[in-house]
Structure formats: C-alpha cells, structure tokens
Symmetry: C2
Subunit: 638 residues, 2 copies
C-alpha cells in the first residue's frame, strides 16, 4: 500500500515567528550517496526489525498489552521502558516517510495498537503506573512519566506526518490534555528528565492548540524552584534564564535546551535566547569532546568542570551526542548561524555515529576516546535509551540537509541527493553530486520550474581552510569565509550549476592546554571526520606508544573495502617503547630508557572503531611537541 505522503518535518518551524529557517520535508529529499543511503537502507532491513524483536523479547510490548488487560503477568523491565517503544515508532515513522516497507509498516501498526490499548480513559498512559502502582501516578519527578509522555508525543507526530496515522496522535493529545489538566493547575513537580518540553511545542505546532505551548513554558519557567530536585543534576538549581554554565546530566540538560529553543522560536523571549547562547559557549568552548560528544562524567552522566575531558574515562553517552545534534539543529533554525551547523555536523559524524556498529546490530552507550580493547558495542542495555535514539536520528537524517527561508534555500549538510523545494510558490529541484564527507567537491544542478530569483545559501564549514564557489563555471567574487553561509542571490534558470570546492586537508588539532590529558598530543581530523588509531590497522606496534613528529607527511587514502569504505590517513611516525616500567608504575627520569622506532601507521574514522578485532585505540596521539620546537634559546637555557 502506498501511503499518502505528507510533510514530514523533524522540527516544524514553518509558522514559528522567531525562527529564521523553515524545514524541508524528509519526503522531499532522496539520498543518493554511499555514506548515508546505505545506512538508511540498513535501518529498514536490519536494525528496525531487530529492535522490534528486542522490544518484544524484553517485555516492552508485553507491558502495554498487560496494561490493556490483554495479557497477565508482572511488569517487566524498568519504569521508563515505554519510551524505547515510542522512539522506535518515531524512527520507523521517518523511515516510512521515504520507503514503502510493508513489513515495517505492519510492525508499526501492531505496536501502535498495543500502545493505544494501554491508555486509560482519562488519557493517562504509562505501563509502569498501572494496577498496583496506579496510585503512585504523578508523585515522583524521577519516574520519567513526563519523559515517556514526551516521547509518545514525538512518535505520534512523526507517524502522523509520515503515514497520516491519526489514532496515535489522538492518544498523544489525550495524554497531553490529561497532563495539562493536572500540571497547569497544581504542578506537583517538574520533569525530572526534560523531553516533554520540546514535544509539547511540536504538538502545538502540529495542532495549533496553544495550551500545549503554554504548558511547555510553564515547565521551563518554574525550573529553579526545587520542583525537580533543586540540584544541578536536574538543572533545577536556578531559574533557567539565570543559567550561565552547562551543567548536570548531559542528556537532560540538552533536551531542556531543545525545549527552550523551541519555546524561543514561538515566543521570541530574548532572555531565553541569551541563556541558550551562554550555555552553548560554555559547552562548545569548555566542555565538549573533539568528537562533539558531551557529558564527560560517569557520575550522574553529567557535564564536568571546564576542560574536564578525560579520554579513556570519557562518558560521552551516545544519547548526549544525539541531543547535541538536536539542540544545535534548533539553534540553527532559530538563527541561520553556521556555527550551530558546524557543531551539529561534528557531533553527527563522530560522537553519534560511533554509537552504532557498521552492521547496524550493536550499540555504544558510552563512547571513550581511548581504550585498551575492553569497550565493545552491545546488542542492548538494561537502560536502552541509546539504541532507539540513534535509529531515530539516522532515520531522520534527510531532514537535516536543507532548510528554506523567505526566498531562499539553505544547504547545511552535504550529501549526494535529489531534493525538491517550494520557494514563493514555485518548485525547485536540486541535484547534488558529492563524495562528502570524504571529498570537498560539491556540485549542484538547479532546476527551477521556471526562471526566477531566489537565494541559495551554501554553508562553508568552519573546518575548511579555503573554499571557492563557481556558478556556471564562473568564480563567485568576494571572499568565501569558513564558518558562515554564502548567499548566492540571482535569477536561476533550469540547469544552472553551482560548484562548491572545500579544501579538505588533514588537520592536526591541538586542544586547549587545560585539557590535561591532551597536552602535547594532537588529534587528526579531515573535513568533518575525526580520526583515531586502532590496533587492527597497526599490528606491529601498540598504538598507545605512537608519537607523531610535526613534519611527518600524512596522506589521505581511500580504502573501499575497509569498514564499508573509508578515507584513511596514513603516514610515518615513531613508536616510543620502554622496558623501564616492567614492574613499576613510576621511575626516576634518569632510570628510564626508550627505544624509538620509525613506523608507518594508518588512522581510521573514529565512528568506525571497535568493528573489528578488539585492541587499543586512541584519538589523541602524542606529538613531538610543537611547544618544544618553538622554544627560543632564551627560554630553554638557564
């Protein structure tokens, strides 16, 4: 059966008065590339069906049937497990937006039946608080009732947009109405785990019922009064508008920021926007991994202090990187500011993608930047937020490529694709040819339905050193600055061509010297991709003993058969080995001897690590110190 395809937006800012950009429906973008398209295909063929089975196997679907009285037995799993079912529905919905997969469609229909049947007459829906636990509803802010509700709402909206399914959206509205009836009057607590805020704003966008937006605002405005713990962990230690530093549980913190950005786009509250900017600077300038991962601490799955970014004990939860993408996407929609696209892209290609194995069957919850080979992806987790979260973001990937504004098309992420837009009531088709993220050449062919004037805004990534743009073989005048959008405003004819050329050198990144673990180390990055050295590629030495000299030549080399096709980095380095620590951890420097050896090494994209034989890995590589090389005689000699 062919669905009646509708506009499938991830965040529908079409009518948001304070959003600079409006979304393009996922249905209007066809990926034609070798990087993302195969991943989307794998979702439908492998990951979605496999997760469906696990949802059943772990009792998550049973819990709904049990709540409906269809099956007997004890509640299985954890009190927030409903949310995994909802995230699976949301992922499946995005997938169904561009693929007519009968099998997935049937699975979704079954799951939706189970979910709806579990709803109470008053609209309440949470399988944990049924029967014996019914009287405990809305008594404890830590029990994720609002969190699960938020995910139901998001899933219902996505499914309604994707396949015009109405019953789940009705159920979500009934639940939202029920929540409104309780929380708008009495507010027994605030969301312990933010999530419902952004869901309610989106429900407002989908229904235009203002109560939902108002409720989201109520939840935001009352933070800092102790209704959600009163502590930094829950970002309830002060009013939202007074926050200056990004703190607390990373996913909660960033989900809250998503909701706040959504509220800003509807209300234009300048205090909210300024707060969001402060938090963004706090995060990106002092508390974010080079992979775009965030939340460095195991304790509380939380942000650490400034520059507290351990590599081996990085927490960097997959969900937090996903939340980072979600938040920066909203900041980008609000502002059209390219710095948000830079962070979004960084997190997506590195911190997020490392969360799923190349075969689509296993997941990382925690994403270390250095490891001895003990950290491996798992089929599932006791707390299984990440697997369903990563599939919903991958499934929605086409929606992040472009936006539109009045009289303009904005290209954010470059992926070979065919996209159609409606600008001032006229349609434009854009064919994009590129081997991004591996090569920096991006060619667009534009086919407006007729000649007319509009702007094409091309993102020049912050990581690019040089960029040039040609329109129909004529070089665009003026500087093309990295870290912004170049607006090409002209009368476009069918067949017009634009080519963007981004230099994509291999960069050796240094980190702020107060990231103590990274002093005198570098990380390799090329384009948006962060690299690591993994043992599997370097069998002749321990990659933890590797040291790069400043002048060693590095070369990007395409390996089509490796790791589903990756650009690798190869070069010369040395290994520094020592036997001075055979039976000790610490030795006086004069007793330590080293054996150095010239070696060739190969680095791979960080997202692809741990897909082969277990072994040591590191992102940050010791480097013959650039500081040392720059010392003057005056400073060294005493």
């Amino acid at each position: 059966m062919m669905h009646d395809k509708r506009d499938v937006f991830i965040v529908d800012t079409s009518l948001s008065p304070y959003a600079k950009l409006r979304p393009v429906s996922i249905c209007k973008i066809r990926l034609k590339d070798d990087f993302w398209a195969p991943r989307l295909k794998m979702l439908g063929e492998i990951t979605l069906p496999m997760q469906y089975e696990i949802l059943e196997e772990t009792g998550r679907l049973f819990n709904f049937r049990r709540a409906a009285g269809k099956e007997k037995g004890d509640f299985r799993g954890r009190y927030y497990d409903d949310s995994d079912v909802y995230k699976w529905i949301e992922a499946a919905a995005y997938y169904l937006a561009y693929s007519n997969d009968e099998k997935i469609n049937r699975m979704v229909a079954d799951v939706v039946d189970d979910v709806i049947s579990a709803q109470d007459e008053d609209g309440y829906l949470n399988t944990y608080f049924t029967f014996e636990r019914r009287r405990d509803r809305w008594t404890n802010f830590e029990m994720h009732e609002l969190y699960c509700a938020g995910h139901l709402i998001q899933a219902a909206i996505a499914l309604n947009r994707a396949i015009n399914e109405r019953s789940l959206l009705d159920a979500a509205c009934r639940l939202a109405d029920h929540i409104y009836s309780i929380f708008s009057v009495d507010k027994p607590f605030l969301p312990g785990h933010p999530e419902i805020e952004m869901a309610l704003v989106e429900l407002y966008r989908a229904t235009r019922i203002e109560a939902y937006l108002n409720l989201a605002e109520l939840f935001l405005n009352d933070r800092g009064k102790g209704l959600a713990g009163g502590d930094t962990h829950h970002i309830d230690h002060k009013p939202f508008r007074e926050l200056t530093e990004i703190v607390g549980h990373a996913v909660r913190s960033l989900y809250l920021n998503c909701g706040a950005t959504d509220i800003y786009m509807e209300t234009g509250d300048g205090e909210i926007w300024n707060t969001l900017l402060r938090l963004w600077h706090s995060m990106t300038e002092r508390r974010m991994y080079v992979t775009g991962g965030v939340g460095s601490r195991y304790s509380g799955e939380s942000f650490g202090e400034d520059y507290e970014l351990p590599n081996r004990r990085a927490y960097s939860e997959t969900c937090a990187a996903i939340a980072n993408v979600m938040w920066n996407w909203r900041m980008l929609l609000a502002s059209g500011d390219a710095r948000f696209a830079d962070v979004m892209e960084l997190a997506l290609y590195n911190g997020v993608l490392s969360g799923i194995s190349l075969d689509g069957k296993r997941y990382f919850y925690v994403n270390p930047l250095a490891d001895r080979g003990f950290h491996r992806r798992q089929r599932w987790f006791p707390c299984a937020c990440c697997p369903t979260n990563i599939i919903r973001i991958i499934a929605s990937m086409p929606g992040y490529l472009y936006s539109v504004s009045d009289g303009g098309i904005w290209a954010h992420l470059y992926v070979q694709s065919i996209a159609t837009f409606t600008i001032d009531g006229k349609s434009v088709l854009i064919e994009e040819h590129t081997e991004y993220p591996w090569r920096g050449s991006i060619k667009f062919s534009l086919y407006p339905e007729s000649e007319f004037s509009f702007s094409l805004h091309l993102r020049i990534p912050g990581w690019s050193r040089e960029a040039s743009i040609h329109v129909n073989d004529e070089r665009l005048k003026g500087e093309v600055k990295p870290g912004g959008y170049v607006e090409i405003c002209r009368v476009w004819k069918p067949g017009d061509k634009v080519s963007l050329c981004l230099s994509m050198p291999i960069e050796r990144l240094k980190s702020h010297p107060h990231v103590l673990e990274n002093t005198d180390k570098i990380a390799l990055k090329r384009g948006p991709i962060v690299y690591c050295v993994e043992q599997a590629d370097n069998p002749d030495f321990d990659v933890w003993n590797m040291m790069l000299s400043l002048d060693s030549q590095l070369k990007a080399e395409w390996m089509s058969r490796m790791l589903n096709g990756v650009m690798t980095i190869q070069g010369e380095a040395i290994t520094v080995e020592t036997e001075s620590f055979r039976s000790s951890l610490y030795e006086p420097i004069n007793k330590v001897t080293y054996r150095t050896r010239k070696i060739r090494f190969r680095a791979i994209p960080y997202y692809a690590w741990a897909n082969r034989k277990p072994g040591p890995m590191t992102v940050w590589i010791r480097s013959v110190g650039d500081v040392v090389m720059n010392l003057t005689d005056e400073t060294v000699k005493s």
Copy 2:
C-alpha cells in the same frame, strides 16, 4: 587518673605463627619530632573533641541512646553511622595510650556507656536495626551490619589495650558470639563491606578464642559464591584464592586483603599469600597513584583498569589510602619485606595525610592530583568514613615505627623518638635523632640494659639512591641497597651509635607511558614526599601552564613558617601560554601560537595543598620531553 598502661598493638602478631615480625606497643614509643608529634597533640586538643561534638550533633550518639530506650525520636543519619562512633573510640584509645587526657577520657567513657546500653540481650548491636527495623536484621548484605560490628570489635580491642577498659570488649565479644551463632550455621550472606574479617582475627589474638578466627576464615573462603552480590564491586565474582587483579570498591578490596593477610599470619595458607602477592603487584604496578592513593574511579569508588589513573578526576578516597597503609603494614609483618614498607610510607605521607587539613579541622574524601581550586576540605560528609578513619591512623602512628623479631629490632619509618624494646628478655632503649622526612640523616643511640647481641634491621627506602651506615663512626662494609633492610648484628653496648645517611635528591618521576594523562609529564618527589605546584605559591602564572625543562636546576629549601614548616622545591621553569583558544577548545596546530616565559616556581608537599587560598594545583608537570631530547636523527627525520 593515670591508667594502667598495657601493650597497645595495632595488629598483634606476637603469637602469630606465620608472621615474621612482632609489634611494638604504641606506649613504648615517644615521638619527639616536629612532624608527627604536633599532629598527635592536635588530635587530642582539636580533632578528637571536635569530632565528638559532630558525633553528637549529627545524631550518631543519639542513635545509641535511642536504641537503649533512653531517648525518643527517629533514627538519624545513615545505616552505617555507628561505625564512625567506633572509629572515633579507636582513635581516642590510641591517643590515650600515650597521653593522660582527662577530657578525652571522659568523652570516651560517655560514648562507651551509650554504645553498651544499646546492645540487645542476644548480643546484637546496631542502632539502625532496632524497633521498626528489627525484623530486617541479617537480611541484606549491603546494610553494613558486619562492617559496623568489625569496627566495634577493633575499637573495643584498642580501648582495652590502651586503658584496660573491659566492658566494651565484653560487648564486642557478645556481638561476635551472636554473629558466630548465626553465620557459622546458616550464613545468610557475606560481608558486603569487608572489615569484620581483620577485626575477628584480632579478637582471636586478643582472646585466643578460635571461633573468631574460624569465622573470619569462613567469611573469606565463601567469597565468589554470590553471597555478597557475586560481582567485582564486592570482590565476590570469584573465590578469593583465584583473584589475579585488584578490582572493585577500593576500600572493600583492601580491607578484605587486610583480613586475608591476618588469616595468613595465623594459618600459613600459602594460597592466600600467593593471592595477596598477585593483588599487590596488580595494584602497585598498574593501579596506584604516585601518592599511594588507590581507587581511581568515582563510579563504585573502585579500582579502574590497568594504568587508568586520571589526575583531575582521581577518586583516591582517603579511606582507600588508609586501607593501603593497613594492608601493607600487615604484609610487612608477615614477611619483613621492605617493599611493603615503601608503599606504606608512600601512602601515609601523601595519599593519607592529604586527607586532613593542617589545622586538623577539615577533611578530603576525594584526593585529586590536579584541580582548579574548587575541591576543598570539608568539616564533615554525609558519608563520613574518612574523618574518623584518618584520626585512628594518625593516632596509631607510633606503632608503625618499629617491629621486633627473634633477636632483632626492625626500624621501618624514621621519626625522631625514644623507644624501648624487650629483646630476649632484656630491655633496649633507642634514641632516634632525625629531621625525617625532610632530611635523610638518621642517628640512633642504643642503650641496652647490658651488653648483649642482637640485630638492628634498618630499612633502606626504595626511593633512596645512595645510603651509608656508620656504627660508632665506622662505616659499615658491604653495599647498602635501597629497597631492603640492612641487618646489623653485633654485641651492643650502652651508648653505641648508628647513623644512617640516605641521599635525598629531588627526583623527577615519569610514569608508565600508558597512564595517558602523564605522558610527557613529570612529578617531583623528594624522599617519601610527593610534591605539587599550587597557585598560592606561584601568583604570577597559572601553574597548569608550567613546563619544566630537563636541565633546570631544582633546589630544596626549608620554609619554617609555611604550612607548619615544609621543605619546598624551587627552581626555574617556563610557562607556556596561548591565546589561540580564547573561544575554542580545539584548533589546527598551525593556528596555535604560544608565548613562553621563564619563571621561578615553588612546589610544596602534596599533603599540604588546599590549606590556603583556593587555586589551581597539579602534581604532574609538563616537561620538555625527555623522549624528544633522546630522539636520534634517524627517528625524527623522514
């Protein structure tokens, strides 16, 4: 009132068949130095009374009176809080062993009254499991009932030895008998937090009742069967004798090892000894901070993987460093092997001592090796194990200086003091003159009651580079090797003099290169003291930006008015500053510029940090790479 002083042993191996060394009573050692003696004095004048008030203020003493029916109200605090009262008693007992302090004596008497009054007729004693919680006794291995019992036993033994108090020891025996009656028959679980094992062996030593030793063995032998969680956190994942790596909650792990070592000294079980050696190597060669602190992870307060030793996020609980001293003391008693004394000394002077402020009023629970000035000592903690633990180890300090063996006296830790021994029924008085730990000259004057032959075993610390010994101005022949005991066997006359001269250069320590945070960094150490650079001494630059060159001259300088008198290290270094990271965390290396500046710096003992104005601190200092300096042309040029 003058007490009838008895033999006050910390670990009484006097009759232990498999112990090489026997203890010397705390009462037989008078400290006369400027380092420890003032700390012991401060215990009695400030810390013990202050903690007594806090025990009252926080409801810990009330809980006993409540359990006795003397007062009404709810149980206050946490389920393991009784143990803090017991540790305070133990500390006070050691203190009373060498000081006639009427005030402390009265406090102890009052506390003991409260404790004893709370005991049930069947011997059970734990104030949490009274009244409404009575039926929950012995149902949950995590509730620390056996842990609290262990601390009661240790306190009771110490108090009995110190001031001949009998009632608390009787209470402890009744409780131990009650535990035996339950656990020797049925064993509902094993200790979730080991502690009672070593207490029971000591109770056996104090009473010669074999049931206590047997019960300790039962607790050890049944580990690995899932009776205490079955996981590594509780060291219950495999039988004790099959352990190969030090894992789990650091304090639990090391307390268990203390108990196992005590059992070994009574039974001679070779499998236990071999296991302990494996665990010791695992810890000291791969999982211990340069300060002797252990347990690198916040999560589970546990040991990490090999070489996982983050500095800023070091957990390194004060109690774990104390447990490290306790365990190594037992290993030393068992074997007479100096390597255990080395670790004991290291942990004591660094990882332990940093746990208490110089004014004796505040404590660290967590001991980071790098900080930005946010980590400060606290007056107390919700979980307050560390404050009472650190006073019991400081109070018992005199007991760690010497041991005896058949015909020999062993000197382990050097402290200016007067000590009396009984060797083969004859008494020997030893006067020790030294400014240790600041200077390496140690002079002994021996006064045997008459001329007779015995051995003096002098520890040559592993950290010393050169050592020489003179007996009555005549240099001892043969090599004096660091890391062992030199035995001087002769007929000693009253007035004989022995002088030990240890070279005490400033060492620059490197760590194993797989401690990722320490590559290309050094730590400064002199004698047993590990140093750090703290902002308070170095106002003109951020100590996190400091970099030492290999050839910079370092000088030890005594500062009598600073931090109660400390040897500081001063020298030249450079600071490396950069403005390239003003608004970014990561930059391509070619965009990073540095400004280097020659500076003079001062380092202080690590234990003394955070006693002044808050500011950055670090133990590990960037160093102009020794590796770089040793590179050959062949390895650098490509």
